[in-house]
């Protein structure tokens, strides 16, 4: 269970987050949403333990984030970023094996090899294992990185797996976006706690369970997605008018955003 308790975060007196609280459910995909600069990535970094809040605290498994040993934390929490700039020609296997670094000292154990085989199978990267990472397409690279991230926590007891995704699909094309989110969504069935920064309202509606809306560092709404993503909240968070359409036999509404009109002025 991940508890975010009244956290605030300031950089040089400028508040980036103010009094944010949330009880994140295990076995659910929570989407962090908000416009640019709303504090989504900062919140994710605070949750990951990379930053420490100026006030309030975050607890994971009943223990404050700042009290976790870095290596012990690495065995229970993994982070996927939007894009990686790897310069050296590592093989895909080497990259995924890095996810096991918190688990072994100098040589890959049998258990590590098992986990690597399993995450490769889950993410559909078995065929790539011997390939040079640098020669893969962007979508393949991101899937390999997801495999690495999963390898980090794969064999951790079931409700103690925390996966944080910072804009995991922003650099991908539509097909890969859905593929990756489907993979992530599948994890929640195995009691992973997943938190993802997302931009696309419909992707959030399709794949997330809960949504936390942020505006200027404050919580607009934290609730189940159908409740959080309604027209008033969307307007409050993003400043755009949205309409929700419910198609028959479709599990959730579809969100369209009204075009913004800008008059061209002749000076």
């Amino acid at each position: 269970m991940l508890q975010v308790n009244h956290i605030s975060y300031q950089v040089q007196g400028r508040p980036l987050l103010t009094e944010v609280s949330a009880a994140i459910r295990p076995g659910a995909l929570t989407a962090l949403m908000g416009s640019n600069g709303a504090g989504k990535s900062t919140l994710l970094k605070l949750i990951s333990g990379a930053l420490q809040p100026s006030a309030g605290h975050i607890t994971w498994q009943g223990k404050a984030m700042k009290d976790w040993d870095q290596r012990a934390l690495a065995r229970t929490r993994a982070v996927l970023r939007q894009q990686y700039s790897v310069q050296l020609p590592f093989s895909v296997f080497d990259i995924i094996a890095m996810g096991r670094y918190p688990h072994f000292r100098s040589k890959l154990t049998e258990q590590c090899r098992n986990v690597i085989a399993k995450v490769a199978a889950y993410t559909g990267t078995e065929q790539l294992l011997n390939r040079n990472y640098l020669t893969l397409s962007g979508g393949e690279q991101q899937r390999v990185q997801l495999a690495r991230v999963l390898a980090q926590v794969w064999d951790t007891p079931s409700d103690q797996k925390l996966v944080l995704l910072d804009e995991p699909v922003s650099a991908l094309d539509i097909q890969y976006q859905h593929q990756l989110l489907a993979l992530v969504k599948g994890l929640t069935q195995a009691q992973f706690t997943v938190i993802a920064v997302l931009h696309d309202l419909n992707l959030a509606m399709q794949y997330a369970d809960d949504v936390l809306l942020l505006k200027a560092g404050r919580t607009v709404r934290f609730a189940a997605k159908e409740e959080a993503l309604d027209a008033p909240h969307i307007y409050e968070t993003f400043g755009v008018k949205a309409a929700l359409h419910q198609a028959e036999d479709y599990p959730h509404p579809f969100i369209t955003v009204c075009p913004v009109h800008q008059q061209y002025q002749q000076w």
Partner: protein, 330 residues
């Protein structure tokens, strides 16, 4: 290695080498050798070959580690001015501190010289790292250009200091700038051994961390690696290794660039294998290069710095062309 010990202005056969070594260990084999051969082997040849092995290994492993640390394959101690800064520190030490230590042909003198080159090299390492980082990534272009600047500054300081030097000091200063293994003695070998050993043994222990570092600094931290400690230790070890080799052999360029690249092409970039293999390969290569420098035009010796730059320069250009194709430079 046997060949390297044996070949030279005075040739000694492997059997004779064996015999001499046994003789030194107090055991006679009956294979005849002359006293001249014994002296050449023991006083000149053997320390020199060991020195070449040590320095070649150290420079290569430091190059490989720095490429991992800076997260780009162009980092090389000589290219980015680290060797030069070390040499400058050494020259300052010789000219200004020479009176204090009445020459450096003693183990403590050698250590103090090592300390100076270490300080110079460390300063350059940290400086380059700070300068070339933009948003957590090292910019190759800035790194190389900062290296050019650092090389120029070091050269200028060295040039200035040489004006203050007396004749004898000047001679040892020029020796440093050329890059040569010609001055190898047992005292030198003993002087650098602990520093080289630290780098050669210490750096492979950080292999996992260096691998993770190639994902990015924050990602290495997410994998439970203490990144600040890694950076400090790696920089210290590299500066120590490079400093030690500059202290006895001057600036031998490109070894730290060429060797890890060749090894990486052969066995991939995984640091556990890469670091050890680079050390071995570098040791062999520098011994070979030193052999060439002694035997191309005997009895004249071509400074090894010239040979390494002659081979390394074109290789560097080739790497630049490759990077240009990838369009990732600058």
């Amino acid at each position: 290695m046997l060949w390297a010990i044996g070949a030279g202005a005075l040739s000694i056969s492997p059997a004779e080498i064996f015999s001499i070594l046994c003789h030194k260990a107090g055991w006679e084999t009956g294979i005849p050798f002359t006293e001249q051969q014994e002296n050449v082997l023991w006083i000149i040849r053997l320390p020199r070959v060991i020195m070449a092995l040590l320095i070649g290994g150290t420079l290569s492993i430091c190059g490989a580690a720095m490429q991992g640390l800076y997260r780009n394959p162009m980092a090389d101690p000589s290219l980015i001015g680290i060797s030069a800064s070390g040499a400058t520190a050494a020259v300052i030490m010789i000219v200004l501190g020479g009176k204090l230590f009445s020459g450096f042909q003693s183990v403590p003198g050698q250590y103090s010289l090592n300390l100076a080159t270490f300080a110079g090299a460390l300063l350059a390492t940290v400086l380059i790292y700070r300068l070339s980082r933009i948003q957590g990534k090292t910019n190759v272009g800035i790194m190389l250009l900062a290296g050019v600047a650092l090389n120029a500054i070091s050269g200028a300081i060295t040039g200035f200091v040489t004006f203050l030097a007396n004749d004898q000091q000047l001679r040892s200063v020029t020796f440093w700038m050329m890059g040569s293994l010609g001055g190898a003695t047992w005292i030198n070998v003993a002087g650098i051994l602990p520093f080289c050993a630290l780098a050669i043994i210490g750096l492979p222990l950080m292999a996992k961390a260096l691998n993770a570092f190639s994902l990015g600094e924050s990602d290495a931290a997410y994998l439970g690696i203490r990144t600040e400690r890694l950076k400090t230790t790696a920089m210290l070890l590299c500066a120590m290794g490079v400093g030690a080799s500059v202290a006895v052999a001057g600036i031998i360029g490109f070894v730290g660039l060429v060797v890890p690249h060749i090894v990486r092409m052969a066995i991939g970039p995984e640091h556990r294998r890469l670091l050890t293999a680079s050390a071995l390969c570098g040791a062999a290569l520098l011994t070979l290069a030193d052999l060439m420098s002694r035997t191309i035009a005997p009895p004249v010796e071509i400074p090894i710095g010239i040979i390494s730059s002659l081979c390394g320069g074109p290789f560097f250009l080739y790497l630049l062309m490759k990077e240009k194709k990838k369009n990732s430079l600058l």
